[in-house]
């Protein structure tokens, strides 16, 4: 079985400050991988480095067999990498429908059936289609950010703390949608989280990150018992 993503010795800095200090891990085909870590451990930075927001100082990232370490953001997106960023980054002045259409921006032709299809998985968004994205609640924005990402039909989704500030019922909805989707598409995912329940119900395997390094695998029993073995900094 081929790995969708292979990360070797990845280092990245903010200015002179090293944040990622040698990240190593793989994501298998169809795998949902969880990464658990406290605030400030470099989770967001890792996803941003994978997406190409900040340059790799060292190391390599291979996606679907090709080396993407030096590719710009849009080129990685076109290969099938998708990011649902922390803070959602909805285009506030565009309507919900326009935000979803942006998910099709890289396609040669815009096919509105893709949006209609996807809306069956996100029924909450249907009556909001003509609202400006900035006028949605945090939970609705999270659903929109996920739906927008899915419009582009990514092969690997990078999902950054989707449960932050979201009520439990929408968290349930997100879990169900993502579990349903993997049955229909060849989809892999990296989900970065602090919410143990969420990560446990979604992930096939969970790694922990500390100070910019993957420190090991967290077993299912530990996860469910809340013994995640993360040293409090």
């Amino acid at each position: 079985m081929m790995n969708v993503l292979e990360v070797q010795g990845l280092r990245a800095n903010y200015g002179p400050v090293p944040i990622l200090t040698g990240i190593e891990f793989d994501v298998g085909e169809g795998e949902y991988l969880g990464i658990l870590g406290h605030n400030g451990m470099g989770k967001t930075t890792l996803l941003k480095a994978l997406m190409g927001y900040l340059p790799a100082m060292n190391g390599a990232v291979r996606f679907l067999g090709s080396d993407v370490t030096r590719l710009p953001i849009h080129a990685r997106a076109r290969l099938g990498l998708g990011l649902v960023p922390q803070g959602r980054e909805i285009f506030a002045t565009l309507t919900v429908r326009e935000n979803l259409r942006m998910g099709l921006a890289a396609a040669r032709k815009e096919d509105s059936r893709i949006i209609d299809d996807l809306l069956t998985d996100f029924p909450r968004l249907v009556r909001l289609l003509n609202r400006p994205g900035g006028a949605l609640s945090g939970g609705e924005q999270q659903l929109l950010a996920l739906a927008r990402c899915l419009c582009a039909n990514p092969k690997l989704i990078l999902l950054d703390e989707p449960t932050e500030g979201i009520q439990p019922s929408i968290i349930e909805e997100i879990i169900e949608t993502l579990l349903a989707l993997r049955k229909r598409r060849s989809l892999s995912m990296i989900v970065v989280e602090q919410n143990l329940e969420f990560i446990a119900s979604l992930s096939d395997r969970v790694l922990s990150i500390q100070k910019g390094r993957i420190t090991g695998e967290v077993s299912r029993e530990d996860l469910l018992a809340g013994r995640v073995g993360l040293a409090v900094p």
Binding site: Y53, E89, F91, L94, A105, A152
Partner: protein
């Protein structure tokens, strides 16, 4: 009554020319936050393209409406690729570089064509309002301003490119995350802004003295209009052009043309003082 009609036509003329002159600058500033100090020289290039094409036998309407925007649009694309694209997000550098560019363009045109050039006659002739005269060309300019407005609106609101451009303007990194190359969007947008500025130069060529430094006469007015209009491209530029066009023409009528400009600048400073986000920042939040 006749006087009122003539005054209204003057205001219309002022508003229409100001809008035509500013819309390209507003697009380039609004979308990319590039302060293009060579804007006046883009106008000048449009005027030269029109005059040269017309003198070479091209129909004057074709020279104004097609040759000028096409030529300046292409020049804009070239300049974007060679210069501007290294300057996004660097406000001060972009001002210095485009200032240098404006000097370069003036120098180049002076070297090739000398200090002045014979203009083209104003087409369409005039008509009588009581004891006053006005020209049909004024009404044509107003029509062009309305067409350009409709065109830019349609481009931004009704096309896929417009959607992508608005998204890039709002959040370039997120747009890139969805597979859009912001660099390309900036390039095309800059070309469109330059082309519209060239169109303004073409349309104003029959009304202006054609010299390499003619751009200087427009540039200050353009900048206060764009800053006064604020971040939303169409509604902001339109309201600011209307307001400043009115103030300028009325000031000129009540005093002299020179004082008209002084009154315009003073009221612009006052406006920007009370509405630092521009008219549209205050009244049309979130539109474009």
């Amino acid at each position: 009554m006749d006087l009122a009609i003539i005054l209204a036509l003057d205001v219309l003329n002022g508003t229409a020319s100001l809008f035509l002159l500013c819309v390209g600058l507003a697009i380039i500033f609004g979308m990319m936050k590039i302060i293009n100090l060579a804007h006046g020289e883009f106008v000048m290039l449009g005027a030269y393209a029109t005059v040269i094409a017309t003198n070479a036998g091209v129909d004057i309407w074709v020279s104004m409406i097609i040759v000028a925007p096409l030529f300046v649009g292409l020049v804009g694309l070239l300049i974007e690729r060679c210069l501007i694209r290294f300057l996004y997000g660097r406000l001060v550098d972009s001002m210095l570089a485009t200032w240098g560019l404006s000097l370069l363009l003036i120098g180049l045109v002076t070297t090739i064509y000398g200090n002045t050039m014979n203009g083209v006659p104003t087409p369409l002739g005039g008509f009588q309002v009581g004891e006053y005269r006005s020209s049909w060309y004024t009404l044509f300019l107003a029509g062009m301003a309305v067409s350009v407005m409709a065109l830019v609106y349609a481009l931004l609101r009704l096309t896929r490119f417009g959607l992508i451009a608005r998204a890039v303007m709002h959040n370039p990194n997120m747009a890139a995350t969805l597979g859009v190359n912001p660099d390309r969007v900036y390039m095309i947008t800059f070309g469109i802004g330059a082309g519209l500025t060239g169109l303004a130069g073409g349309l104003l060529a029959p009304l202006s003295g054609i010299t390499p430094v003619m751009g200087a006469a427009f540039i200050a007015k353009c900048f206060i209009t764009v800053v006064g209009g604020g971040a939303t491209i169409i509604s902001g530029t339109l309201t600011a052009s209307g307001l400043f066009g009115l103030i300028n023409q009325l000031g000129a009528y009540l005093t002299t043309p020179v004082y008209g400009e002084v009154i315009l600048f003073l009221s612009a400073i006052f406006l920007i003082r009370i509405l630092p986000q521009g008219i549209s920042g205050r009244f049309f939040k979130g539109m474009s």
